[in-house]
């Protein structure tokens, strides 16, 4: 199994480690609910180094990315990043990624479990194009610092200059001779940053950020993949392997906003056909009665007919309610629709709820 450069730090912090996408990753340190709540109220740091980081250079880099991405990445300005899907010819989702435009290169951040598939996919479409791809995943570290106190901490107390970039902006810099990129992005529903830096300096920066000696500022505490999952679920964000897969298209997944049907790209034809007919089923938020959790695969009913299937569910730590995301027949996916879930032979009432379940105040 692969280990990130922060592996020793996780062990020292007493993290529980699990296999995630071929990496040995921390699922929790103090407790999922505790880490979740701390992220919603203060600031947490997550090791997300397992995510793939692919760099593209060369005159045809933009054309390659336009060909594989659903998003019109040509519209991104230097210093901006954007969420996109990568689809096959049928419009099935191969991965969901963040593409960033640098002055002289592009960065694509992909899911850990899809990295080898995406690398092969891109290599195939690089043929005949003047472009170079470098997989920097194992040479770099990526951490996410998320929560309402994060931006204030970085602007006032920490030696990394981030300026006044907006959401989905990023800046590059160098600290003690090491280059870094800081992105104002994340996967928790909170404001925050994601930082990419060399593997060699990762552990030092992690230790510096998590030190709790500072009395004059909010302490950044570590959080694991368990809290990352409950946070993204409350924020209504899809997760590959749950809401997203090759059997699903971006329009049904509620991600039509990252698809530009005006441009040509892999899967565009199939997606235009789906768009003109309207998706048969849609990614739908559900709020359940009671406190039972609907796991992936739980069947959704309207009366006696099966009308959908749950992709993710949890007991929302912020709302105190059982919430789920599910694919539901489009006609039954309107807010307020009453449905039922079958949890261990029991029917549990559920109501369609607008996504996201949780929205931050500012």
């Amino acid at each position: 199994m692969l280990k990130t450069a922060l592996y020793e730090a996780h062990k020292r912090l007493g993290a529980r480690l699990i296999d995630f996408g071929g990496w040995e990753m921390p699922v929790m340190y103090r407790g999922i609910n505790d880490e979740h709540t701390y992220t919603r109220t203060a600031s947490s740091i997550f090791d997300v180094s397992h995510m793939g980081r692919l760099i593209f250079t060369g005159p045809d880099a933009e054309a390659l990315l336009q060909h594989v991405c659903t998003r019109n990445v040509g519209k991104l300005k230097v210093g901006r990043c954007g969420y996109s899907h990568v689809c096959n010819e049928r419009g099935g989702i191969l991965d969901d990624v963040i593409v960033s435009r640098y002055e002289d290169r592009w960065l694509m951040v992909c899911n850990a479990g899809n990295r080898s598939k995406i690398v092969a996919h891109l290599q195939q479409h690089m043929q005949g194009r003047n472009v170079k791809m470098e997989d920097t995943t194992e040479k770099t570290v990526m951490v996410a610092i998320q929560g309402p106190a994060t931006m204030d901490l970085f602007t006032k107390h920490l030696p990394i200059k981030i300026g006044d970039m907006g959401r989905y902006g990023f800046v590059t810099g160098s600290y003690m001779g090491q280059k870094y990129s800081v992105f104002r992005s994340g996967y928790t529903g909170e404001d925050g940053l994601e930082v990419v830096l060399s593997a060699g300096t990762g552990a030092m920066v992690w230790d510096y950020l998590t030190q709790d000696g500072a009395k004059d500022r909010v302490v950044i505490k570590p959080a694991g993949l368990g809290a990352r999952d409950t946070l993204r679920l409350e924020a209504g964000m899809p997760l590959y392997g749950h809401e997203l897969s090759e059997d699903v298209d971006p329009l049904s997944a509620g991600c039509g906003w990252c698809v530009d049907l005006e441009k040509d790209f892999l899967g565009a034809g199939a997606l235009r056909a789906i768009a003109s007919e309207g998706p048969k089923r849609k990614m739908t938020g559900l709020t359940l009665e009671g406190k039972r959790i609907a796991r992936q695969g739980t069947r959704v009913f309207s009366g006696d007919s099966e009308v959908g299937v749950v992709t993710s569910g949890t007991l929302s730590p912020t709302l105190g309610k059982s919430i789920a995301m599910a694919y539901v027949d489009s006609a039954l996916s309107k807010e307020g629709q009453d449905l039922a879930l079958e949890i261990k032979e029991e029917r549990v009432a559920a109501t369609v709820t607008a996504l996201p379940f949780y929205k931050r105040q500012t």
Binding site: I32, G226, T230, R292, R295, L315
Partner: protein
């Protein structure tokens, strides 16, 4: 530090404590820690008959849903009424306040077939 020696254990981490012919069943701290934050416990009502080795209910955490097993046969006399509103008691006091059910045993000797504290400790250490 070992588990309490005043009770017997199942490999699947349930403890069984006998008082007269009433056996209280709960899960060990090790199991509660493994499950992480417990969100829901599904338990049988009083009057339900249990069979040794068979599931008695389910326990849910943020991470997963797991079956709970009974190591004894008998009739349920009570399910912990506090767990409906406070399932986290299983995390905070698994050997005490976080007990699950009480069962009236047909054969009190049956409990002696379960693992001793020492045997259980050896299992979780291994």
């Amino acid at each position: 530090m070992g588990v309490p020696t005043d009770r017997r254990y199942l490999k699947s981490h349930e403890w069984h404590k006998l008082d007269g012919d009433i056996c209280t069943i709960g899960i060990t701290k090790f199991a509660a820690d493994e499950l992480t934050d417990i969100t829901y416990v599904s338990l049988p009502k009083a009057g339900k008959e249990l069979t040794a080795g068979k599931p008695l209910g389910e326990i849910e955490s943020v991470k997963a849903t797991s079956d709970l097993y009974s190591g004894v046969s008998g009739v349920v006399t009570e399910a912990n009424p506090k767990l409906g509103d406070s399932p986290e008691l299983v995390n905070s006091d698994s050997f005490g306040e976080g007990w699950l059910i009480k069962v009236k045993l047909a054969d009190v000797k049956q409990i002696e077939t379960l693992m001793t504290a020492q045997q259980y400790d050896a299992q979780i250490a291994g």
